[in-house]
C-alpha cells in the first residue's frame, strides 16, 4: 500500500523537527549575540542586491506556484517562497535583529529543510527575485549563530579537517581507487586509474560518498574512460572532493578553502579540463559558487558535467552502444545542471542514444521539480527524513504519472533523494545514473594505446 500523506501525518510536520545541534546552539545564544550577529550579516554581508530583492517584492504570491513544498503541503502559504522570506528575513529586518530563539528554531528549520535553494521560484517571480539567495543568507546567519543542523554541520567539519565530506582518510582514498582498478582489470586488461598524472587531458572528479560506499561507480567510470581511450587522472591528495557542503550551510570561509584546494589540485596536475561525475551540487560548487568566492567570475578551468562528457563520448563514437537499454525510462532534470547549466537537452539526447523508450515527465527541463533532497536538505539527515518525504509528494505524483520502470537521475543528491521518494510512495521504479546504463549497454572494448 502506498503510504499516502494522510491527515494523520500532518501533526508530525506541524511539530517541526529539530535536532541536538540546533537545540544546543540555541541554548548558548544570548539576545545580544543574536542581535549583533543578525545585524552584522545583514549590514556588512549584503548589499544593494539584497536591498532590491526585499524592497521590490510586491507580495503578489506568484512564486508559490513554483515551490514543491507549497504544492506538496496542500498549498499551505507558510511553505511558499515569499512566505518563507516573511517568516525569516522580513521579521529579522522589522525587529532589527531582535528575535527570539523560538523564531530562530523556526528560521533554521525553514532555511535548511524547507528550501532546496533550487531557484525554481526565480522563474515564477515576475521580477526575477532570487529567493534562494535570501534563504542562503538565513543559513549564513544560522551558521554564525552556530545553530546549523547536526548532520550537515558534521559534513562541514569533515570538509574542514579532511577536505572531503565523509571523513575519508587519505590512505583509504588511494586504497579504494587501487582496489577498483584491480577489480576492473579482471574485466579489462590494462585498465588504469591513473593517479596524479601531470598533464593529463582530464581530471575526473567524484564526491566522497563514492569511495565511502559507492565504489562501484568509480569502477564504472574507469571502464568508460578506458573503453573511450581517455587520457585522464585522479588526484591522490586531499582536494579531490568538491561536494562542498559548506556552501549550503553558509560557511563561506570553509567553502572557499574547499574550492581553492580543488582548483589548485587541478592546476598542480596541469589538466586541460575537469570532468565532474554525476553530481549536481558538486558541479555547482566549482562551476558557479566556489569560483566566485575564490575570485574568478567563471571557473578557472573548463568544467564539464558527466552529461556533457557522455554526450561527447557518444556523438564522437569513442564509446559505442552494443545493445540499447530495453526498459522504459524517464529522466529527472537535476536543478544544478538543467536550470543551473542548461544541460537538459543534452541529457535527453544521451538518454535516447542509450535507451529504447524514453518517457518524458512533466514539468521538465528548467521547470522540473527538485528532488527535494538537494541544496543540503538531505544532508540534514534522519531527523528530517519523514517530513522530506511529505514535502515532496508532488515529485512522487510526477514520477508515478510517467509509468516508467526506470528513473534516470544524473545527480548524486537527486539519486538518493529519489530513492527515498520511490520507496516511501511505493513507486516501484529503479533509480539509475546515466553512467549505470551506459556501462550496462556499451561495447566493453579493451583499449590499446594506438588503436
Amino acid at each position: 500500500m502506498p503510504k499516502e500523506t494522510t491527515t494523520e501525518d500532518v501533526p508530525i510536520v506541524k511539530q517541526k523537527n529539530t535536532d541536538e545541534a540546533v537545540e544546543a546552539g540555541l541554548a548558548r545564544l544570548t539576545p545580544e549575540r543574536i542581535k549583533t550577529t543578525i545585524n552584522q550579516v545583514l549590514e556588512n554581508e549584503t548589499g544593494p542586491k539584497f536591498k532590491a530583492y526585499v524592497e521590490t517584492c510586491m507580495h503578489c504570491g506568484l512564486c508559490a506556484e513554483a515551490c514543491l513544498y507549497f504544492l506538496s503541503n496542500d498549498r499551505d502559504p507558510s511553505y511558499s517562497p515569499a512566505g518563507k522570506v516573511k517568516q525569516t528575513i522580513w521579521e529579522m529586518l522589522e525587529k532589527k535583529g531582535d528575535v527570539s530563539t523560538d523564531f530562530l528554531r523556526r528560521a533554521v528549520h525553514i532555511a535548511h529543510t524547507e528550501c532546496n535553494v533550487c531557484k525554481r521560484c526565480s522563474m515564477y517571480c515576475p521580477f526575477g527575485i532570487d529567493i534562494a539567495y535570501l534563504m542562503l543568507m538565513v543559513r549564513r546567519i544560522c551558521h554564525k549563530l552556530e545553530i546549523t543542523p547536526l548532520y550537515i554541520q558534521d559534513t562541514v567539519n569533515s570538509h574542514s579537517a579532511t577536505m572531503n565530506q565523509m571523513w575519508v582518510k587519505e590512505d583509504e582514498w588511494i586504497d579504494t581507487l587501487q582496489w577498483q582498478e584491480e577489480d576492473a582489470r579482471e574485466e579489462f586488461e590494462n585498465l588504469r586509474i591513473p593517479l596524479d598524472k601531470v598533464g593529463a587531458d582530464i581530471m575526473y572528479s567524484v564526491i566522497a560518498p563514492e569511495p565511502k560506499f559507492q565504489a562501484g561507480l568509480i569502477y564504472q567510470a574507469a571502464t568508460i574512460m578506458h573503453a573511450a581511450g581517455i587520457d585522464w587522472t585522479m588526484p591522490s591528495s586531499p582536494g579531490w572532493d568538491n561536494s562542498n557542503m559548506a556552501m549550503f550551510t553558509g560557511d563561506n570561509e570553509i567553502s572557499g578553502r574547499i574550492a581553492r584546494a580543488f582548483y589548485e589540485t587541478a592546476a598542480r596536475l596541469k589538466v586541460k579540463r575537469i570532468v565532474m561525475g554525476e553530481c549536481g551540487h558538486a558541479f555547482r560548487s566549482i562551476y558557479d559558487v566556489g569560483n566566485r568566492w575564490v575570485g574568478w567570475a567563471m571557473p578557472p578551468f573548463e568544467v564539464v558535467h558527466a552529461i556533457e562528457f557522455y554526450h561527447q563520448l557518444l556523438t564522437s563514437g569513442r564509446i559505442t552502444i552494443a545493445d540499447k537499454y530495453k526498459k522504459t525510462v524517464t529522466l529527472h532534470d537535476p536543478c544544478n545542471v538543467s536550470r543551473g547549466r542548461g544541460l537538459h537537452d543534452m541529457a535527453r539526447e544521451v538518454t535516447n542514444m542509450v535507451c529504447d523508450s524514453f518517457i518524458e515527465m512533466t514539468p521538465n527541463r528548467e521547470h522540473n521539480y527538485c528532488c527535494g533532497a538537494g541544496g543540503g536538505v538531505i544532508n540534514c539527515g534522519p531527523p528530517y527524513k519523514g517530513e522530506r518525504m511529505i514535502n515532496n509528494r508532488v515529485k512522487a505524483e510526477q514520477l508515478k504519472a510517467t509509468g516508467a520502470e526506470v528513473l534516470i537521475a544524473p545527480c548524486h543528491n537527486c539519486h538518493s533523494g529519489l530513492e527515498d521518494i520511490v520507496h516511501h510512495y511505493d513507486l516501484n521504479m529503479e533509480v539509475k545514473f546515466l553512467g549505470d546504463i551506459i556501462f550496462e549497454t556499451m561495447e566493453k572494448k579493451i583499449f590499446n594505446p594506438g588503436d
Binding site: A52, F127, D288
Partner: protein, 219 residues
C-alpha cells in the same frame, strides 16, 4: 482658498514631477554607487543581451510559464499596468492643460472610452484587493501597507471619474484629484511603486545569470 488651488495646480505640479523624476534618478544613482562600492562583481555577469532577452520575454503576454499558470491575474495585471499610463497621458482634459501651458498636443482618447478605461483601472484595483483577501498565499504575505498602496493608486482615478461626471462637490473633487495625482508621483521613488524601475533591474540581473552562467531560460 484660491491661492491654495493656484498652488496645487501650479507650482505643486512642477514639484511633484520633479520629485518623481529626480527621485527615481537619485534612487538609481544610489544603487549604482552602492553596487560599485559593495557588489561590483555584478558587472562581471550583467549582459545587455541577456538582460533584454529576459525583460522582453517577460513583456510578451502569456509567454512565461508563470503567466500561463495564473492567466487571470496576469491578464488583469497587464491591462492595469498599461492603462495606468495610457489613461492619464492620453486623456483629453490633461492634454488641454498641457496645451494651454506649452502649446503641445498629441493624440487624445475619446472621452467615453477614457471613462470606461478608468472604471477598468478601478475594477482591477478592486480585483487586487479581493485577491489579497481571498487567495491564501497572497493573504499570508499581505500587510496593511499593501492595501494603502492600492488605495493611493485608486484615488486619482476615482476622483477624476467623479469630477468628470460632476456628480457632486465638483470643485472639491477636482482639488482631490490633483492632490492625489501629485501624491502618487511623489511616492513612486520612495515606496514599492519604485518597482517601476527596480523590476527591470532585478529582472536584468537574473536574466544575465541565467543567460551567461546557467545557459538556461528564466521564463
Amino acid at each position: 482658498m484660491n491661492a491654495f488651488i493656484a498652488f496645487i495646480m501650479g507650482p505643486m505640479v512642477w514639484i511633484a514631477f520633479l520629485i518623481f523624476i529626480l527621485g527615481l534618478i537619485f534612487k538609481l544613482v544610489v544603487i549604482i554607487k552602492d553596487v560599485n562600492a559593495r557588489e561590483s562583481y555584478v558587472y562581471s555577469y550583467l549582459s545587455v543581451k541577456y538582460s533584454l532577452r529576459s525583460i522582453f520575454a517577460w513583456l510578451i503576454p502569456f509567454f512565461p510559464q508563470s503567466t500561463r499558470q495564473s492567466p487571470v491575474f496576469y491578464a488583469i495585471s497587464y491591462i492595469f499596468h498599461l492603462l495606468l499610463f495610457i489613461v492619464p497621458v492620453f486623456l483629453m482634459s490633461h492634454i488641454v492643460l498641457v496645451n494651454e501651458a506649452f502649446q503641445l498636443s498629441w493624440f487624445a482618447l475619446d472621452d467615453t472610452l477614457a471613462d470606461i478605461l478608468t472604471v477598468i483601472v478601478v475594477l482591477a484595483l478592486v480585483f487586487f484587493a479581493v485577491r489579497r483577501q481571498t487567495v491564501p498565499e497572497v493573504k499570508y504575505l499581505t500587510s496593511f501597507n499593501d492595501y494603502v498602496l492600492l488605495i493611493i493608486v485608486a484615488l486619482p482615478f476615482i476622483t477624476g471619474f467623479l469630477a468628470y461626471h460632476q456628480f457632486f462637490f465638483y470643485r472639491q473633487m477636482v482639488i482631490a484629484h490633483v492632490i492625489s495625482g501629485e501624491l502618487v508621483l511623489i511616492l513612486i521613488p520612495f515606496s514599492k511603486f519604485s518597482h517601476m524601475v527596480m523590476a527591470p533591474l532585478t529582472r536584468a540581473y537574473m536574466g544575465s545569470e541565467f543567460g551567461n552562467v546557467r545557459h538556461a531560460k528564466d521564463w
